[in-house]
Point group: C2
Chain length 314, copies 2
């Protein structure tokens, strides 16, 4: 089987499956949670459901948002599956990389949803180390496993398929959602983000991560595939077609300390979209909300509805 199911938890009328599998992208075991709504699991009249991928923020595992984000509440009612991937490889003590567990904002729990090219994070041929390839993991490996037409994945039969997927995320996961959406046109039906790191090239979190995973800024490769600009939502949105609907919803709390410290920079993203003539971007500044799951949970229903609308459920 593609996945080992370690736990099945009843939630909002559906079921949350805690899964593990050996990832070829990262070369490590990976944990991922999958929520299936009651419509998918109906004993006599099941319906194949679209999927919303939720990318978590720094330090989080698949469990945090499954417990505290409340996406399941509205997803249950609308008939939407949710996939919660992990935020990085998690090496065992025997194969831990130097510095991997030293900081909350780099290494484990902080994969930034890109494929690292710098040693040791890029990994070795044969999976001997590294494996910080979270972009390949999220955009290719997980869908190929989940939507496998063979019987390899027992959950495939509940899902509508690769054409019925949207993406969302929080903080570093908001960066992930926006960049993977913009880098892979057509892969997702819509995007949303809670307090995303929207211009990582220009904020401390992003600069530290990009330098570590991609190498120093500049060096004449900014426009190459692995340049910083190719992993920065504010730069990527400039490549979006003028007048084309971005189908994007972004919420940011005005009481968010990381917003106030300039880690998120949603205004830069908004401005770049506006200058490019992009349509269909809604950025809302929510009065007094912080960066926590209290914030995320408060707007979870609406982000699920945003995805559901573009997935044909509303």
């Amino acid at each position: 089987m593609a996945f080992t199911t370690t736990k099945t938890i009843a939630s909002f009328g559906g079921k949350l499956f805690k899964l593990t599998h050996q990832s070829t992208s990262t070369g490590t075991p990976m944990a991922v949670n999958l929520y299936l709504p009651p419509t998918a699991l109906h004993p006599t009249n099941p319906r194949k459901v679209p999927l919303l991928i939720y990318l978590s923020g720094l330090t989080c595992t698949p469990d945090n948002c499954s417990e505290k984000g409340f996406l399941q509440h509205r997803a249950s009612a609308l008939g939407l599956a949710i996939l919660y991937p992990d935020t990085s490889p998690r090496h065992t003590s025997a194969t831990t990389l130097p510095g991997e567990d030293d900081a909350y904002d780099f290494g484990s729990g902080a994969g930034f949803y890109l494929d690292a090219i710098q040693p040791p994070w890029a990994g070795e041929a044969g999976g001997g180390g590294g494996g910080y390839r979270m972009e390949s993991y999220v955009t290719r490996e997980l869908p190929s496993l989940l939507f496998s037409s063979s019987n390899e994945c027992e959950y495939s039969r509940y899902l509508a398929g690769p054409d019925s997927v949207s993406i969302t995320g929080h903080s570093m996961g908001g960066h992930g959602a926006l960049t993977l959406y913009l880098r892979h046109p057509g892969l997702y039906r819509s995007v949303s983000a809670f307090a995303p790191i929207a211009n990582p090239s220009r904020c401390p979190w992003g600069r530290k991560a990009f330098e570590g995973y991609l190498g120093a800024e500049g060096e004449g490769k900014e426009d190459g595939e692995d340049g910083w600009k190719r992993h920065d939502a504010t730069e990527l949105v400039r490549g979006w077609k003028k007048g084309e609907d971005l189908k994007a919803l972004v919420d940011v709390g005005t009481g968010d300390d990381f917003y106030k410290q300039g880690q998120l920079l949603p205004e830069n993203f908004e401005r770049a979209a506006k200058e490019t003539g992009v349509e269909g971007l809604t950025v809302r500044y929510q009065e007094g909300y912080d960066h926590s799951y209290y914030f995320m949970a408060s707007f979870a229903d609406e982000h699920v509805e945003h995805a559901a609308k573009h997935l044909g459920l509303l």
Copy 2:
């Protein structure tokens, strides 16, 4: 001021206030969370709102359910405040009682919502120790502070008052909700419980707690105020008037390991109510649900609605 506000968190359109205060019931500082819905905080047209008290289960602090219970979601829409008391005194290291922190199911985090009479849990005159008086704390001290007509409590003006209160709780807190409701007729408008310890005299958790806080079973005092029967919902409901509406909703998950182990015994409570001719008790066995906040959150909307109905909001 009655309370010190240590943090204010925006949540579902309202605000969650993290409070601390020096309790006369326990002789210790106590933490408590208060959620106010947007109707109460409306800048020009505020409305005084009724209150739902939520009692937490073993090991929990006021924060667990505030983050994971999802009560705020529906309370926000219906205009209901929620109070999250702690589960026991929390002594500082200088005044910790012998054995207080040794077990998850006795001592700190496990006050069982009764007033202990056994040393050292009963405390000393002058507050020199003990202070496991969570019944007095929840039923008398907290309301007297919250509904103070003086200006002592800055939150009084948002609340409808002591006649507009309902109670709910989870596990040990479900025991607390049921017993405080049954012991204090008229104090609460309705009661509900998630996976309550419904017959503590007959289960390991309850017997350990009662023996420690109240003394050994028997000794000729079962019918006295401090006897076990006076703190056991299944015994207390036998004193309810035949035909009178209990206004009680109880949910239990059929996949709950503690239910299966006989820690909850909701059937005993149901049977006692039926034998007594009590009306208005709904006990629902929810297929496959466990004991966790995943379970609680899944039915939080409905428990808030149950309280709201009896508080005149629906």
